[in-house]
Every structure is written in structure tokens, then in C-alpha cells.
Amino acid sequence: MLELKPMPEATVTPGVPKLLQEGFFVRFTDQWPLTLPHVKGKTFQIEKTNQVPYDITRIIPGGNYTDIDLSNATGGENIYPENTKTLYETILGFKPGNYLVHFYIPSGEYVHRLEQAGMVPNVASATLRYLGARKPEDSPYDDKRIFMYSVKDLEPLILRLLVDNGVLWEKMVLGLVVNKCYLKEITPTPEQLARAKKIDYYTELRW
């Protein structure tokens, strides 16, 4: 449900669409919880899509951080669907600046960590602040490479934005494009299942 697509090693012609398109198939793994029965273990075909751009901006001092909740909770940015038949494929890119971004889902649980004890992101640490952090150049605003997938009632995805030392203030501009996908449940053929994009639950990113 959270992916960083690396720079391609080669290009193909004709190009491959970056976003999910009408007619594409998506499959939610069995790891999705029972509390999300509208998607758990199900396969869908996308009936229609609509791309909605949105920018989020924060200005804070150097050495400080701020959290952005993408969910529809109070104080959140309301970037989650409200309809059980909707999937949001949200791509995220950053305008340049001296800042780092950590991902948590749900709040307080790191997405990116290593296996050794203590090797977890920590914005208070001079070294661990760089562990698991995305930098603006990892996903430029004009070539967004971070993909997030959300459905109704998914736990909040939190972005922790840290302005690194070295500047008095920084303006962080996060560019989003929300690809709204309207889903139709199907019983897939083996071929459709093989072509379907697999959408993992966030717990599958941590082991």
C-alpha cells in the first residue's frame, strides 16, 4: 500500500501508464483485516478513474518536525475515500528543500525500519533521522514516485516532515495526485488474477 518506484533502467515504447487506468485489475491480499471486509482478499476491475491534484504546504523552523495525517480523521488532510467501492491511488512528490519525510501507519509505527533492535527512524537522533527517510530528490514534484493506496476506514497514514539542520526555516511543498478509482468486484479468471496489481496491507511491509 506504500511503494517507492525507482528510476527505470530502460524505457519502453509505447510507454506504460503510470497510474491505474480503466479496465485494470487490482487484488487486495488476504492480509487485509476483517475490519475492512469490503476489500479483504477481493479482486476488482476499475470501472472509471479521475485524477485530482492537491498540494500540502508547511513552513517550520530548522531542527523541527510536523506530522501530516492523510486520513479523514479530525485534523487530517482528508485524502482517504469515503465510499467502499473507491480506491485512492495517491502519488506523492516533493518540491526541493532541506527536509526529510518519515512514514508511519498507524501513528507511531514506522513503515521503514531495519531488523536490528533500535534501527528505527528517530528524528531526535543525529543519525537515525536519516534511516528510512525519503528526501525530496527521491520523488520530485514533477516526477512523483511514491505511490500510496487507501480505502475507506484504513488506518491513518502519517507523514512526519523534518526540516534538517542548516536552515532557519524551510517551506515544504508536497504535491499529491489522487487517482480516484471506482471499483467493480469480479471473480477473476487465472489470467485476470495474474494481471491484477497486488495491493498489500501495510503489515506486509514490516516483518
Binding site: R58, I60, N64, T66, K171
Partner: protein, 123 residues
């Protein structure tokens, strides 16, 4: 991308309003002080609103600030002089609104004969 000319008819003149999702990157500053009555000391000031945040090292909360200012460039221009800057501006950026303040010998002073041109991009 855009440019703006102001005469220093007040001690502080607005140049560019804040664009919430972009920084203002000046590409040209020209100061024409030929018609002015004295040497001009000019400060290019950035004004922006900050968001609430937390100090990473201590966990202390920091409140949002409205109207935070930061001076981004200071230049003295002699009477009868006209100066322009391009390359010198490549690392200058405004997070919020840009304005210019004029003073003479440290005293804020307006002078309609001092003309300031700003060329800029939004990034």
C-alpha cells in the same frame, strides 16, 4: 516569468505576495538610484506564516507564527548609480511574500526617485 517595478514611495514596498505552494525565486534585481536624493540602503525581506511544529531534539512544541520575517538580501546603492544583479541571486529564495525596505544612513526614508525592479520565478 514575471517582473515588478516599484518606486520607493513608502519606506516599505510590497513586491510579490505569498504563493502558498511555491517559493519566490528572484532572477533579477535592478535598483535605479539615479533620480534619488541620497544613497539607498535596501533590504529585501521575506514575510511568511509558520506552522506549529515540535523541536526534534527536545520534543518541545513550537507555536505557529504569523508574519515571521527574514531578510534575504541587503544592498547599498550610491546616488546616481544603477545596479543590477542576476548571478548573485541564484541561492536567494523567499518562502513567503517579498518586500523591499529603503533607508538612508540607517533611517527609514521614502524616495520616489529610487526605482526597484524584481524579476522572479515561482518554484
Amino acid at each position: 516569468m514575471a517582473s515588478r517595478v516599484v518606486d520607493m514611495t513608502a519606506t516599505t514596498m510590497a513586491l510579490v505576495a505569498e504563493k502558498r505552494n511555491a517559493k519566490v525565486k528572484p532572477s533579477l534585481i535592478m535598483v535605479d538610484n539615479v533620480d534619488a536624493l541620497a544613497d539607498s540602503q535596501l533590504v529585501f525581506r521575506d514575510t511568511f506564516n509558520t506552522n506549529a511544529s515540535i523541536v526534534a531534539a527536545t520534543g518541545a512544541a513550537v507555536a505557529a507564527v504569523v508574519g515571521q520575517t527574514a531578510d534575504r538580501l541587503r544592498v547599498n546603492v550610491s546616488i546616481d548609480a544603477c545596479v543590477s544583479m542576476r548571478d548573485e541571486l541564484k541561492d536567494v529564495k523567499f518562502l513567503g511574500a517579498a518586500s523591499v525596505l529603503r533607508s538612508v544612513a540607517g533611517v527609514p526614508t521614502l524616495d520616489a526617485g529610487c526605482h526597484v525592479t524584481l524579476g522572479y520565478n515561482l518554484e
